[in-house]
Subunit: 277 residues, 2 copies
């Protein structure tokens, strides 16, 4: 692996619109998914690592599957594709999953998913159907939905209940860095039930990745807001090619030490990757 | 008025959650509102200018009221507080209003409003009620809603039909500048019915104001995306005091010429203000 460290790929299964799989099927299916992922990693352990896919319709089983995949298969965390049956992860039924992630000291990557149907109908309809589809997902709606989800976790007190839980957000933080000062100013006085200012939770419980968004302005803003210790480089292969992603980071206006942190140091620390692998 | 030009105040009536006023009442009521605003301006014409409030439930009357207020009362444009009865301004029934703004060469300021009830229920509920209220409005939801509205106008082809129409967005562009590259990359291929790349419409039909958000990272990002010719300084008085707003602009890392454009030059050009007033 090269000195930039960006050759290590974190594998996971993501879905554009994940169906809600009944618990009776989900537990066995996700176990098979994770075992296949583990087999792919074992064939190239110096190249790949994995995030678990969890049967979230059965939260107790999801917690056990996270523990199995981390302790037995060496997975580095879990990737969760948005809401489960319309519920955010701060719903009390998901507490076992958050407790397991906290106890195992592995992060949860909150991947975008489309907003719920009533939101699509109210906000994204009235345009050519293919425009609505992209507008509600990768073009805009994914990011609003995922930013709402992350802020909902903060505002519901998840990080007061789980003070060591760490999350990862893609796409330069799903819009939150752009408005973090505004969010903090307006929501901290309203959220008197929280122990700390709203911005503190974002700055201390979230890591941010580019997810293939390689233009300087959002990168520089994110760096100004979250700092070089909280950015994990990511390529979004195969949508973006490694060469393009590497050139962006090499040319970004960063000190050598910050470039190394973003390229691999932060990921090695958070995901407990073996830097000599 | 001082050399910064930020003493000129643009007056308008805004509402947190504007009720839909039936046409029979709206036309007379908005006329009275605008006449009172004109009287306040006439008492201090060197200090104040105005945006019209329009009876949008009767679009033909709204177009006539915009023409009356601009040509007879010297108003500088219109302020529209989000959707009208759930409809975005690209709905065909509002075409007379957009045509009037274009013909009169005055901008429409698209002010935030709360998202529709189904969106609040799906995205912002499940928290203490006062947290939901702020989360759905000034803390986050306003800006998503207004960004969606602006993008809906672009994607529906409003600016192909009205090539000279100019809009104003507050809050550093309601999130759009942070993701403009992403929006352009994903939505331009989908929106094959449009004449031009999606980003072009934003860059050539929208001006952006701070609305009292005075931290450097979103300002610098907005400057990098829209440029110094498209930023209009605004204070959001009385929520922010003039002294604080002035200090931010004086200390911002800008060339003298760009500082003058942002402080007053762009507004004087767009709103046809008399710089000697």
């Amino acid at each position: 692996m090269d000195s930039m460290g960006i050759d290590m790929q974190i594998l996971s299964y993501t879905a554009m619109a994940l169906p809600v799989i009944p618990p009776a099927e989900a537990v066995a299916l996700m176990r098979e998914v994770n075992d296949r992922l583990a087999a792919a990693i074992q064939a190239h352990p110096d190249r790949f690592a994995g995030f678990a896919t969890l049967p979230l319709t059965d939260p107790e089983a999801a917690a056990r599957e996270l523990e199995r995949t981390v302790s037995k298969l060496g997975f580095k965390g879990a990737m969760i594709n948005g809401r489960v049956g319309g519920l955010f992860l701060d719903d009390p039924r998901f507490r076992p999953v958050l407790e397991a992630a906290e106890a195992l000291e592995v992060p949860i990557y909150l991947h975008p998913a489309p907003p719920p149907e009533p939101v699509i109908a109210a906000c994204y309809a009235g345009l050519p159907p293919n425009v609505t589809t992209v507008f509600a997902t990768a073009g805009w709606g994914w990011h609003l939905e995922t930013g709402i989800h992350a802020l909902h976790l903060i505002l519901s007190g998840v990080f007061d209940r789980h003070p060591r839980l760490q999350m990862i957000l893609g796409h330069w933080g799903e819009m939150i860095p752009f408005y973090l000062a505004r969010i903090n100013q307006t929501l901290t006085p309203a959220a008197a039930h929280l122990q700390r200012p709203v911005a503190d939770y974002f700055l201390e419980h979230f890591y941010v990745t580019p997810s293939g968004l390689f233009t300087l302005p959002p990168f520089l803003l994110t760096l100004q807001i979250v700092g070089a210790d909280r950015i994990l480089y990511s390529v979004d292969y195969p949508y973006v090619q490694d060469r393009q992603a590497r050139a962006f980071l090499e040319q970004a206006p960063l000190s050598p030490a910050d470039r190394e942190k973003i390229a691999h140091g932060n990921a090695e620390r958070l995901l407990k990757l073996n830097p000599s692998a």
